[in-house]
């Protein structure tokens, strides 16, 4: 494949032809801030946060949409670039509620990150602010369009990852807003609540309802695991705070990338449900009574051992689980065959 060599901030880098300046910079480990760019989505080129100075060009260029060419000389943090980024941030902040103190995305927000990086404290252009009602009429996602920076990633994620086209730009000019058709709520639309739009939103405009109200971003410990629902085997991160699972966020899964469905992303609540069994139970006179593990295990061993010895091993039967791990299925097969002495083991896979 043809390659091009360019200079970024004084260093040289060779990349395949067709790469963008942003791709080249990332390959070199040079950070360029972006808002509307996402590697999995089509390029929008609308936020201009990623501008860079290209020697010989009359204006600043957006690095996410400009192809790297042979001999190109690029500066990513020149005074002109910094000035431009500050102006963009001031414009965005001028129409953004500055309630970071209580925002669920505090600490995990690109607008915050870049405002900090470029020392922009507030919007420089006092003017009209949006006063949209916050949408939380569904149990999964909260939409606060006052915080939306119109990067359009949710629109593209819904169309290109989820294939749904639920949300799009509506109205014009200052009134431009992201909304489902007829400006209804998600609950009133065809939305399937996969949350794949939430996963790409760079700010607090789209938030997971429970997760963001239960834990601040830095209090969370993430544990990568595999979904317990269907056989697709999506990977995700369990978000843990104080020994409890408070939410699920996307990771880069082998099978699913960042995409999840509603069950994987929002179906974790059963883990700490009050109905969970927490003690062994033994039925006495038709009623369950709590028992110790010693007592329950001894009873199981005695009764199953008794049936095996008196009625023969084939009077026992075992159902294993398509929900349990491989290791557990293996051990139950071993228990059935080696200890009970029968091959009477099956599971409900046929169902």
């Amino acid at each position: 494949m043809a390659e091009v060599t360019l200079t970024i901030n004084g260093g040289q880098i060779t990349v395949p032809q067709g790469s963008t300046i942003l791709n080249a910079a990332q390959k070199m480990g040079v950070f360029i801030p972006t808002l509307c760019y996402d590697p999995e989505l089509t390029i929008d080129g609308s936020c201009r946060m990623c501008v860079v100075e290209v020697k010989g060009a009359r204006t600043l260029m957006i690095s996410c949409a400009t192809a790297a060419t042979e001999g190109m000389v690029v500066e990513t943090e020149s005074p002109a670039v910094i000035e431009a980024r500050k102006t963009i941030l001031e414009l965005l902040l001028a129409n953004h509620p500055l309630d970071c103190l209580t925002c669920g995305r505090n600490g995990d927000c690109r607008l915050q990150d870049y405002a900090y990086r470029y020392g922009v404290k507030e919007g420089g252009f006092a003017g009209a602010m949006h006063q949209y009602p916050i949408e939380d009429d569904n149990p999964f996602i909260v939409r606060d369009m006052n915080k939306c920076i119109l990067c359009g990633k949710c629109v593209r994620a819904c169309a290109q990852i989820q294939g749904k086209n639920v949300v799009d730009y509506t109205y014009r000019g200052f009134d431009t807003k992201i909304a489902p058709a007829m400006d209804t709520t998600l609950a009133g639309s065809d939305c399937v609540f996969c949350g794949n739009c939430v996963a790409v939103c760079p700010v607090g405009a789209l938030q997971e309802k429970v997760l963001r109200s239960k834990a601040r971003t830095w209090e969370i410990n993430k544990v990568r695991t595999t979904c317990p629902y269907c056989g697709t085997g999506c990977n995700f991160d369990l978000n843990v705070k104080d020994g409890k699972v408070v939410g699920v966020t996307s990771c880069d899964g082998d099978v699913n990338g960042r995409a999840l469905c509603v069950k994987g992303r929002f179906g974790y609540g059963f883990i700490h449900h009050p109905d969970r069994l927490s003690k062994p139970l033994i039925k006495k006179d038709g009623q369950f009574v709590e028992a110790s593990w010693e007592e329950a295990l001894a009873l199981v061993a005695e009764k199953l051992g008794g049936i095996r010895d008196n009625n023969g091993p084939d009077a026992l039967a075992v159902l294993s689980s398509a929900r349990c791990t491989n290791e557990e299925n293996y051990l139950l097969s071993k228990l059935t065959r080696a200890v009970f002495g029968t091959n009477n083991i099956d599971h409900c896979a046929r169902l």
Partner: protein
């Protein structure tokens, strides 16, 4: 699956039969949508106008239970029009002549009488499938008689072999597994006739190897019985004790009333689960297990990818991980079982299972591995049957269409079919307790066509009673053209709509799959 999930997006032709992929496997559904956006042809065969059927170029709205006729009909056209892959058939398969003879009578016109699909549409779809470079077939339990990988996938496999659409990327025969670790449970030998990796219990050398690894003189050679036979045995008193781990047959098995009756007759029932399920309520002892978030382990997904499950939090209360409970039961019965961790158990599995031979927790840290993976250097096998089938030559297994065991009649004039919903999972044990999913999708309804509703004077939202010869349930009606005239549909997720009180336990004689997709019912308005 013979091919990885990502391959679906690259197929030129996707034939989805009996799978509402976008609802039951949403992320695989995304690959289907991606393929369609990229210009691939999607053909869906399903009695219902499902979400995925709406996306299809052609929707073959077949009569319930007529899939085999449809598949044989496609093969008939492809052979009659000489569109089959002769090179593939000659070099890689056997018994083609027997297959050819068997499908001869399945002319499009004959098939039309069984499936209700116009002969011209069948021809068009058959030609489309045969002519493209890469074609993949997706299906779920609804259509197949096959279980667990080793058995051949008769009608579907025949079609794919006929066109050589197997053993290469972006093609293949791809059953989509309903539950997260069905693949793994099968792989691990949670089946009556095989040990891990489908090694038969009837083989002396296999038993000898496992016996010596497990420190025993011998292991039982007689194949065990299947779940349906277990329940039969329980009701007849030949099965006296059962151990059920993490399953809820009272709701998930057909003819629920019979299941309860059978389990009630046992002398002793142990249930190990995370909730007091409908099945656990019948137990003599209930052992509290840890959820997936509270233990380490691995799941094997539908594309045979072994992936890590990691402990994130401590088990609630005194609950324990299933693997520990099983060790303790074995130990209490005089067979000490000790493992430091699930990683240790995987070492033992790998040492006894050729297809898992190269899988270890160290390697899984770098990402999932698709078996067969025979040794630590092996990269895993994303596409099966490349160059050669696992059994050598691909065997055509002719299959005949048989009518569903229970057809509608005067007394029970409608066909009931059951399936899954996007927001829920299996018997609802988990998804009804999330604080979110059940809040949004909290009641189940019966889908009924407007023509049937009009005949029965049922309005949208009316309470109706659905009855079969085995039982009845009450729920609200939803009038919709998702179902054709003569068919009603609901899911089996909701305990209060225990639809499996109605379904027919008549099982396929080979794979013992109960006939969930077809049973005869009547619907009456209650209020």
């Amino acid at each position: 699956m013979t091919n990885p999930i990502q391959d679906v997006a690259g197929a030129d032709f996707i034939f989805a039969i009996g799978t509402n992929t976008t609802e039951s496997h949403p992320i695989i559904g995304l690959q289907v949508k991606k393929a369609v956006r990229g210009g691939s042809t999607l053909v869906v065969a399903d009695p219902r106008k499902t979400e995925v059927a709406e996306l299809a170029k052609v929707h073959l709205q077949i009569k319930s239970g007529s899939d085999i006729a449809l598949l044989n009909g496609m093969a008939n056209v492809i052979i009659a029009e000489d569109l089959y892959n002769k090179e593939f058939v000659a070099e890689r398969t056997e018994d083609f002549e027997a297959f050819k003879a068997a499908v001869e009578k399945y002319t499009p016109e004959y098939v039309e009488g069984i499936t209700g699909i116009a002969a011209a549409s069948l021809r068009e779809v058959a030609r489309g499938y045969a002519r493209v470079k890469n074609a993949t077939i997706l299906y779920t339990m609804g259509i197949t008689q096959h279980i667990c990988g080793t058995h051949n996938v008769f009608a579907v496999a025949n079609l794919s072999m006929l066109c050589g659409h197997i053993g290469k990327p972006n093609s293949g025969v791809n059953p989509l597994r309903g539950q997260n670790n069905v693949q793994g449970a099968c792989d691990m030998g949670a089946l009556p006739a095989v040990l891990t990796g489908y090694q038969g219990v009837g083989l002396d050398d296999v038993r000898a190897r496992f016996a010596s690894a497990w420190g025993l003189e011998s292991l039982p050679a007689k194949p065990g019985i299947t779940v349906g036979e277990m329940l039969e045995g329980a009701s007849h008193g030949t099965i006296k004790g059962m151990y059920i781990m993490g399953e809820n047959p009272v709701l998930s098995d057909p003819d629920a009333n019979h299941v309860v009756h059978a389990l009630d007759k046992l002398d002793f029932l142990v249930v190990q689960d995370i909730f007091l399920t409908e099945t656990a309520q019948l137990a003599d002892v209930v052992l509290p297990a840890a959820s997936f978030a509270e233990k380490d382990g691995t799941f094997s997904n539908t594309e045979r990818r072994v992936q890590r499950v990691r402990k994130a939090v401590e088990p609630v209360g005194e609950a324990r991980p299933d693997w520990q409970i099983l060790c303790q039961v074995a130990t209490a019965m005089g067979y000490p079982m000790n493992y430091a961790s699930p990683a240790d158990i995987m070492k033992e599995i790998a040492s006894l299972t050729p297809s898992y031979g190269g899988i270890s927790y160290e390697r899984l840290e770098q990402g999932g591995i698709q078996w067969p993976c025979p040794n630590p250097e092996h990269p895993g096998t994303p596409v099966l049957h490349v160059g050669k089938f696992s059994r050598g030559m691909g065997k055509f297994n002719p299959v005949e269409y048989v009518a569903p065991a229970e057809m509608p009649d005067e007394q029970y004039p409608l066909v009931l079919s059951t399936g899954r919903r996007h927001f829920h999972y299996h018997t609802g044990t988990m998804t009804m307790r999330t604080g979110a999913l059940e809040v949004y999708y909290g009641t189940e309804y019966l889908e009924i066509n407007s023509a049937d509703a009009a005949k029965l004077v049922i309005c949208d939202g009316d309470k109706v009673k659905v009855s079969s010869r085995r039982g009845s349930v009450e729920l609200s009606a939803r009038i919709t053209d998702v179902v054709p005239e003569g068919l009603v549909f609901t899911s089996f997720h909701f305990p209060e709509v225990a639809i499996n009180r109605l379904t027919n336990p008549a099982r396929d004689s080979i794979a013992k799959i109960p006939e969930f997709k077809v049973c005869a019912v009547k619907v009456e308005k209650t209020a």
